[in-house]
Amino acid sequence: MSSINLTLKIWRQHNSDALGNLETYDLDNVHTDMSFLEMLDILNEKLTKEGKEPVAFDHDCREGICGMCGAVIDGVAHGPEKEVTLCQLHMRNFSKGDTIVIEPFRSRAFPVKKDLLVDRSALDRIIQSGGYVSVNTGGTPDGNSLPIPSSNAELAMDAAACIGCGACVASCPNGAAMLFTSAKISQLALLPQGHAERQQRALSMVAQMDEEGFGNCTNAKECEAVCPKGISIRNIARLNKEYLFAALTEG
């Protein structure tokens, strides 16, 4: 373990209506075994001791699964390490004297609420528009009555691993939510349980995406590069297929 000193340039914005700006902070004695959020914790303890307002940021599980954390680190959503969330990024990825620029996930559909904290409820509304199988509790058939080939279950699981962090949106030049939406559509399209509603699902979820102000996909592939769960853009191809088929049949 060693210790480094850093210069942090952090986006500070009091609320959605306020203008924000980058503020500079020097931080010494950052242990390289710390996680990025623990580094922010010690900055916040320091700011508190100085009578200044700590930096607001979202976080909860701190083990890469709840999808609550996230910020753009030197221009990259969730920072330089591949396939990790911000809470799993460790300070050993940085060197003595580095300057780190920390900004919120920006997108038209994600208003900044305070500092690094944004409103991602648009993603919830996409799921609400159709990201489910319509079954009520009770009266379902035995779990083994519907055999599902292991390979399909695995592919569905690959897609289902999405944590809803929104990094894909923040990194997309068009602010599209295609990777997120396609992950759910793929999971359910790959499983027999999802078949009955697949057309309606694709149409509703895509319509909701548009309504929320997310942009269109132009194959920039930035989303896949930053996704902490390795969600593949093959899912987007699957979404397009599902949507096209649904639109043709419905039309």
Partner: protein, 642 residues
């Protein structure tokens, strides 16, 4: 405080069916006239909200996070138990019941645990129908693994992300009901109080954490699904926002709190590496199947592990417990690790760790086989610690993981406040003094999908509730109380931080006190000492904590302060509860109650009961009540792992 468990009579296997039949119902047309509040969207809260909304109730659901999908349940890794017996290896409802009640060291209610085992099978069917991608065999049937020392293979899983997938299943059902207009979802709200009208729970008061606004909501029943309180210890495997606030405020309004000192400490976590550490990460228990636990024989041996020859190593679990070895239950493994470190044999920078060594397993089975089994865990470990377990033994240490204690509930999951229900980890019901692996997910979903709706219907059908509007005096009083409390939290901060402490500093001090005195091994004198030290911490908190900013805005320091204030108050009944239970049982050892070989000794004659605490207002000490536990269908046996 009256403790009527309302356990139905009759043979064990018929109780739940009989109860469902004898409980009153609300007809579908009338359900939409009733409002239900659910606090929490973990497995328990999300499944309850969706189910009640499907049945026609008007549901309002609340959570702290920015989305219901982020509840702490999302982090569960290992799996969920069910008595399907798909492997044909002799499993049954009765066996799952027996394993769970024995695992809990005979400190849970027989009838509740049996019901849990009974509905476990329906949970799997429900989740499959929702599209939860459980692991499958090549032929397409559901796969199982064995877990937590059970002799049968009954755990269903979705890679190492079972909690995530089950929660996303419940979240999808909830989302569907939100879309249908049957659930109104309130994100980023922290519940601060329960509102009672005529002695019945009729609403809650919450703080909108984005705006600081204090709001009240009214309903006909209130269901708490707010999770466990492991964060009282500051460091735990729980998510950062996990808290006792909701349960504690309910307790202060009259809900009995059961077995607050029953806390599970998990043996295989990544050790603390510095005082900046914010939480602990669990490494799956399965690692003990192939890893060997050891420490150096000599105190203060600072050599690298590879330089320590066999004869200077102490494989203490294998030596002490020859028949179970490294696979002793969680509590035994945890306690022994702490003992070794207390003796000065701990390893790593801090001396608070033991080795979990895979060298022999790799020699025996080859690196490839071991990596196939544990590759993802090794990777996760390496990411956090920067050390590769193939080359160097892992460092592990116990950490607070799960709280068996919680709000006391009857068979209907109702607390001692009429109309206030508690489900999931926030109640005390099913795990006794120790929870078995893969059974918390089962309990959360059993409560939410299959039990609570029956209870709610019965309550509504048998109570006549006055019409209210949410503007009555109790609502105003509750709001005022919450506002005053927030002002009180902020009162010391007007003149700046000079000479003051931060919220985390006090929280860490509380955590250390609980860990040292009310952890794995407890002793009367030491608990008394903790009880004496607690008021000092409380005073420090209220006189000396600086909170930046104000209450009219997003203020994460203020949120933490509110939770820590409640943990500090709550710690008193934890310690008192530990003190009152002069027996070793489940997860904890009581030094005064040991066998000659220094193993835990349960005392059935004096402690076959649930300890239920009643809050007494003013400065008076809380009062303890007992619910005696009767074992009609199983005979409590003593555990032995020698």
């Amino acid at each position: 405080m009256e403790l009527n468990s309302r356990v139905p009579s009759g043979p064990l296997a018929d109780k739940w069916n009989n109860h469902k039949f004898s409980n009153k119902l609300v007809n579908p047309a009338n359900r939409r006239k009733y409002k239900v509040i659910v606090v929490g969207t973990g497995l328990a809260g999300a499944s309850a909200s969706a189910t009640l909304a499907e049945q026609g109730y008007e549901v309002q659901t609340f959570c702290i996070q920015d989305s219901p999908r982020r509840a702490h349940s999302i982090a569960a890794q290992g799996g969920i138990n069910a008595a399907k017996n798909y492997q044909n290896d002799g499993d049954s409802v009765h066996r799952l019941f027996y394993d769970t009640i024995k695992g809990g060291d005979f400190r849970a209610r027989e009838a509740n645990v049996y019901r849990l085992a009974e509905v476990s099978n329906e949970i799997i069917d429900q989740c499959v129908a929702q599209g939860v991608p459980f692991a499958r065999e090549y032929g397409g049937t559901l796969a199982n693994r064995s877990f937590g020392g059970a002799q049968v293979s009954r755990t269903f899983y979705a890679r190492g992300q079972t909690g995530q997938q089950l929660l996303l299943g419940a979240y999808s059902a909830l989302s569907r009901q939100i879309n249908a207009g049957n659930v109104k979802m309130f994100n980023r709200r922290e519940m601060m109080d329960v509102v009672l009208v005529d002695g019945k729970a009729r609403g809650i008061t919450v703080r909108d954490v984005m705006t600081g606004k204090i709001e009240s909501y009214y309903a006909d029943v209130v269901i708490l699904a707010t999770g466990g309180y492991g964060n009282a210890y500051f460091l735990s495997t729980n998510a950062m926002a996990s808290n006792v606030t909701a349960a504690w405020r309910a307790h202060k309004k009259g809900a009995g709190f059961a077995n607050p000192s029953f806390v599970q400490i998990h043996p295989t976590c990544i050790p603390v590496h510095g005082d900046y550490q914010s939480k602990l990460t669990l490494m799956s228990e399965s690692l003990r199947n192939d890893g060997r636990v050891w420490v150096p024989r000599k105190v203060g041996d600072k050599r690298r592990p590879s330089e320590i020859p066999e004869e200077d190593r102490d494989y203490y679990l294998e030596n002490k417990y020859p028949s179970f070895g490294n696979l002793v239950p969680r509590d035994v493994a945890s306690r022994n690790a702490k003992e070794q470190c207390d003796e000065g044999k701990g390893v790593g920078n801090t001396g608070l760790a033991v080795y979990l060594d895979f060298a022999d397993a790799i020699k025996r089975d080859g690196e490839e086989t071991i990596l196939k089994k544990y590759g993802n865990l090794f990777q996760m470990y390496e990411k956090i610690t920067d050390s590769n377990p193939v080359e160097e033994p892992m460092l592990i240490y116990p950490a607070v993981h799960y709280t068996m204690g919680g709000l006391w509930v009857d068979y209907d999951l109702m607390t001692t406040i009429p109309g206030l229900f508690a489900i999931g980890e926030c109640n005390f019901s099913d795990h006794g003094a120790n929870r078995l692996g893969a059974s918390a997910l089962m309990q959360g979903l059993a409560d939410g999908y299959f039990i609570i709706a029956t209870s709610v219907a019965h309550y509504l059908a048998t109570n006549s509730l006055e019409k209210i509007l949410g503007s009555e005096a109790p609502f105003k009083d509750s709001k005022k109380e919450v506002e005053d409390r927030i002002d009180k939290l902020l009162q010391n901060s007007a003149d700046g931080p000079a000479g003051k402490l931060t919220v985390d500093e006090v929280h860490k001090e509380l955590g250390r006190l609980l860990w040292d005195h009310c952890g794995m091994a407890r002793e009367g004198g030491s608990l008394e000492k903790a009880l004496k030290e607690l008021p000092e911490i409380k005073k420090k908190f209220w006189d000396n904590v600086y909170i930046p900013g104000n209450g009219k805005d997003l203020n994460q320091s203020l949120e933490r302060a509110g939770r820590v204030a409640d943990f500090v108050e709550f710690a008193e009944i934890m310690i008192r509860d530990a003190l009152a239970r002069n027996e070793s049982c489940g997860c904890h050892l009581r030094e005064e109650s040991q066998t000659e070989e220094h193993e835990a000794k349960r005392d059935d004659e004096n402690y076959t009961h649930v300890s239920v605490w009643e809050h007494i207002s003013g400065d008076e000490a809380p009062k303890m009540h007992k619910e005696e536990l009767k074992f009609e269908f199983v005979t409590p046996s003593q555990r032995s792992y020698k």
